[in-house]
């Protein structure tokens, strides 16, 4: 089996379904981002460089370790000011676990949440007038 590819249990009957680490990472990243109180994901230097070179990474701030049937996830997040950190963290863990288990069939054994910073409210810039698509 190639490194970073997992084979879920439900794939045994009619062939092989393999899920890449990157896919599990994207699922985890999206599930974490949609939790109320999460301002965004915090990527390291590598994520920053890869973002410069290609499109915005959906698995930014996510480290995934996968085995044959289990997965462990580390999430690096920035939370919104005013949110209660333990509540947000537990909701992230539950949401990520539910999303990965529901979509891949892998058993999530650990979801570690690393709160890297707090985002304070910003004054919103006035919306730029959009140019019409046709004149």
């Amino acid at each position: 089996m190639a490194h970073g590819i997992v084979q879920p249990q439900w794939s045994e009957k009619n062939g092989t379904v393999r899920i890449a680490n990157e896919v599990v990472g994207i699922i985890a990243g999206l599930a974490a981002s949609e939790v109320r109180g999460v301002a965004g994901m915090s990527g390291g230097v590598v994520d920053g460089i890869s973002e410069l070179l290609k499109k915005k990474s959906l698995s930014k701030g996510v480290r995934v370790e996968v085995g044959e049937k289990e997965a462990a996830v580390d999430l690096y997040v920035v939370i919104e000011y005013g949110a209660r950190i333990p509540d947000v963290a537990i909701e992230i863990q539950e949401n990520v676990k539910r999303a990965i288990e529901g979509m891949t069939g892998l058993k999530v054994v650990e979801v570690n949440v690393h709160i890297q910073g707090v985002q304070f409210e910003q004054e919103e810039a006035p919306p730029e007038e959009e140019e019409g698509r046709v004149t």
Binding site: A72, I90, K97, E110, H114, I115, Q116, G117
Partner: protein, 177 residues
């Protein structure tokens, strides 16, 4: 990474680079600083050898002791949950504390540092206050609000906080950012 640790690493790496350049120059048949003479020369070169020995021993001690000490305490607060760990960076806790203190009437400027203890967090706060205030009352208010806010937001008790009033100023703070 602490600044002193970085400094030692930078000095160490520069010395390694200098040695590499020395060997490169030997490969190219040159010895611009006359180091081979120091190595192969007679007793008159002993002073230079002694200086070289001293410098390398000093560098060794710096690197060795820095390596031994390392980061003595983790820069995160750790919560254990059923599904794993929640690690909160000290910088996040400090920025939350700073925000809570900044809102207190009478605080013009503030700096906060946090340390983890076995049963909670300990804060060191330095403030610049407005004049005509009862300072013991102000510091007591800061301690109380900080402890409540951190316990509520981060979920970890505050075991203690030291508030130091470093200056009293009459300058008015900007009302808007």
């Amino acid at each position: 990474m602490r600044t002193s640790y970085r400094l030692v690493l930078i000095i160490g790496s520069l010395v390694m680079l200098a040695l590499a350049m020395f060997f490169l120059s030997l490969l190219m048949g040159r010895d611009p600083v006359g180091l081979t003479e120091v190595i192969t020369g007679g007793e008159e070169m002993n002073l230079y050898r002694l200086i070289g020995f001293g410098l390398f021993v000093l560098l060794f001690l710096l690197l060795f002791l820095t390596g031994l000490s390392g980061e003595t305490s983790p820069r995160t607060v750790i919560h254990e949950t059923e599904m794993g760990e929640v690690r909160i960076a000290f910088s996040a806790v400090e920025s939350l504390a700073l925000r809570a203190i900044d809102k207190i009437r009478g605080v013009k400027e503030a700096t906060v540092s946090v340390e983890a203890e076995s049963d909670g967090l300990r804060f060191a706060v330095e403030i610049v206050s407005s004049p005509d205030l009862n300072l013991p009352q102000l510091t007591s208010e800061i301690r109380s609000k900080l402890a409540d806010y951190i316990h509520e937001t981060v979920g970890i008790p505050v075991t203690g906080s030291t508030v130091t009033v470093t200056r009293v100023t009459t300058e008015s703070r900007a009302r808007v950012e």
